[in-house]
């Protein structure tokens, strides 16, 4: 009897202990995870001497020197040029990716297509195929097209639904939808293209947003493709400009580079916080519902 009371007494505290332990782990891991980012943003507002002398992330004497000087860059172009170049690549890429993925996904999800099973297998194979095996022939092909040192190689292929992952995401989403609305629209005399644009697209908007966000992030991060295709500095996106800046100014001006790195990730950071649920849904749609 006595042991039983002690037992329940101890067990009563178990959930508290459990929660305590969980919070402890999460806070510790979260701190380690986020610290490099805080250090980057803090460092952007420090002077160089302070970056090298303190591990804290809060600047003791905040300064915008890093931003002012970093923005000028060591080239004849300001950082604005590189940001603008990035947008000239990323925006068309996101647009053509969304349009082509929706159109192709609609075909896969709704129609009886001859050889659909095989086509779908090929679509999934493109997800697993390493890009480096295609790199050289694609380069030679775009050289023949006269596309070197232009942005076309960076987004023209995406106009043909070459990223199977996105098509798959939208197919998965379309398959969960009931057909009644679409059938009713057909009764009313809509053709399939009208059904797609007027009925289907508004409903699959969450999936479209997920695709757009992922493609935006991945294109912002893309480095190898611009590295291969772009040769004039005036056409460089931010990724190449940053790489160039560490090659040139490494020893001296960390605050400038940290400031420009902060600006470089700012668009992704803002979008992530604004639309986090679309990232989570997009990521899990393929893995869990599949």
């Amino acid at each position: 009897m006595v042991t039983a009371t002690i037992d329940t007494g101890w067990r009563k505290h178990l959930p508290v202990l459990n929660a305590f332990l969980r919070y402890g782990i999460l806070i510790l891991v979260g701190f380690v995870m986020i610290y490099p980012l805080l250090w980057m943003i803090g460092g952007a507002f420090k002077n160089n001497a302070e970056i090298f002398s303190s591990i804290g992330f809060i600047p003791k004497a905040p300064t915008t020197d890093g931003f002012v000087n970093g923005w000028k860059t060591s080239t004849e172009y300001s950082f604005a040029t590189y940001l603008l170049n990035t947008m000239k690549i990323v925006i068309p890429k996101v647009i053509v990716t969304v349009i082509s993925s929706v159109v192709v996904a609609y075909g896969f999800a709704r129609f009886a297509i001859p050889g659909r099973k095989w086509l779908f297998a090929l679509l999934m194979a493109t997800v697993l195929l390493p890009k480096s095996v295609l790199l050289i022939p694609q380069y030679l092909m775009f050289r023949e097209f006269g596309w070197l040192d232009t942005y076309l190689p960076l987004y023209a292929p995406q106009a043909f639904a070459t990223e199977g992952f996105f098509v798959f995401m939208i197919i998965q989403f379309m398959r969960t939808l009931p057909l009644d609305m679409e059938e009713a629209a057909v009764m009313d005399g809509c053709n399939s293209f009208q059904v797609l644009t007027l009925i289907v697209c508004p409903v699959i908007l969450p999936a479209i947003i997920s695709v757009a966000l992922f493609q935006f992030m991945w294109s912002m991060n893309d480095f190898l493709q611009p590295l291969i295709y772009l040769s004039s500095v005036e056409k460089y996106p931010v990724a190449l400009a940053l790489k160039m800046s560490i090659d040139v100014t490494e020893a001296t001006s960390w605050n400038e580079i940290l400031a420009m790195s902060t600006i470089a990730i700012a668009p992704s950071l803002i979008l992530f916080f604004a639309a986090q649920k679309y990232f989570v849904e997009g990521l899990t749609s393929g893995a869990v519902k599949g």
Partner: protein, 300 residues
């Protein structure tokens, strides 16, 4: 309307064209190139057919062997560690606690930003001689480590960059955990099964489809890592972080050996293909799909 094969085919035509032009054709072409001595600066017509010379040449190429070893080490270290850590944190997070969403955000964020040049640059500074980590060690009275200058620690720094991005795998695990019906745990509680036993007998088996998905994705991505090592260590020192994608890039665009580079990319492709094929083949032995349970739970 939806059984009109012609209209349906029209919708998937962009994919068919794109697949033929930007995937199938380059795929075959790179294999043909791998059997030649094509060079970047020459016309393709000047290339000679050299048979399997590029492949047999790898046997004598110590750089390739080093690169291959480093690549396997990188994948075999990062993939299990990242999956284990992602699963562990997902289990800790799968709990009704205040502020849990905040932690999920904090953990997911690095996998969104981690592939960028900006983060690689920051990483390089964090591990630099007078960077954040050495300063931290210094304040504890520990002498600095030449992180990026020593083979083992250089590898460690790029491994850590990948582990830092465990969040996307974690989010997928978390969604998988939420899909496990709670009555299973209630029944196990009544039977007196311990938490540990519940994890091994219920959680892990029901999570295998998600584990399988994460495993494939992580393997495919890890074998293709480029940005981190290229920017942080440039493959060095002594080629200790010279992953195969770096070698493929440099052979083609620094040394202009298109033929050899294509052969290397085919080796990488075959390695990835073997891993994915074995994973798909083996899944019937260890992946447990909800419909196998023969009940209507699980919401599929």
């Amino acid at each position: 309307m939806y059984n009109n094969k012609l209209i349906g085919s029209l919708y998937v035509t962009p994919f068919v064209i794109g697949f033929l032009l930007f995937t199938a054709f380059p795929f075959v072409a790179s294999f043909i190139l791998s059997l030649t001595d094509a060079r970047l600066q020459d016309q393709l017509g000047a290339a000679q057919f050299t048979g399997v010379a590029n492949y047999t040449g790898m046997v004598a190429d110590s750089t390739f062997q080093k690169s291959l070893g480093v690549t396997f080490a990188y994948v075999f270290i990062t993939v299990p560690l990242k999956l284990a850590f992602a699963l562990f944190i997902a289990v800790v997070l799968n709990f009704k606690l205040r502020g849990i969403g905040l932690f999920r955000t904090a953990f997911y964020l690095p996998s969104i930003l981690g592939g960028s040049v900006a983060i690689a640059v920051v990483w390089r500074f964090v591990f630099a001689g007078d960077g954040l980590i050495n300063q931290g060690l210094g304040s504890l009275g520990i002498g600095g480590v030449n992180w990026l200058g020593e083979p083992t620690t250089a590898m460690f720094s790029i491994v850590l960059l990948r582990l830092w991005q465990f969040g996307s795998a974690m989010v997928v695990f978390l969604a998988g955990l939420k899909a496990i019906p709670e009555d299973l745990y209630e029944a196990a509680d009544l039977d007196g099964a311990s938490r540990m036993k519940q994890f091994w007998m219920i959680t892990l088996p029901l999570l295998t489809p998600v584990l399988f998905f994460n495993f494939i994705m992580q393997i495919v991505q890890a074998f293709q890592e480029f940005n981190g090592p290229y920017i942080i260590t440039a493959g060095g020192p002594l080629k200790s972080s010279y992953l195969l994608p770096l070698m493929i890039y440099e052979e083609a665009f620094k040394y202009f050996n298109l033929g050899y580079s294509s052969a290397l990319s085919w080796v990488l492709f075959i390695i990835i293909a073997i891993f994915t094929a074995v994973a798909f083949w083996s899944q019937k032995h260890w992946v447990f799909y909800a419909q196998d349970r023969g009940d209507d739970k699980g919401g599929h």
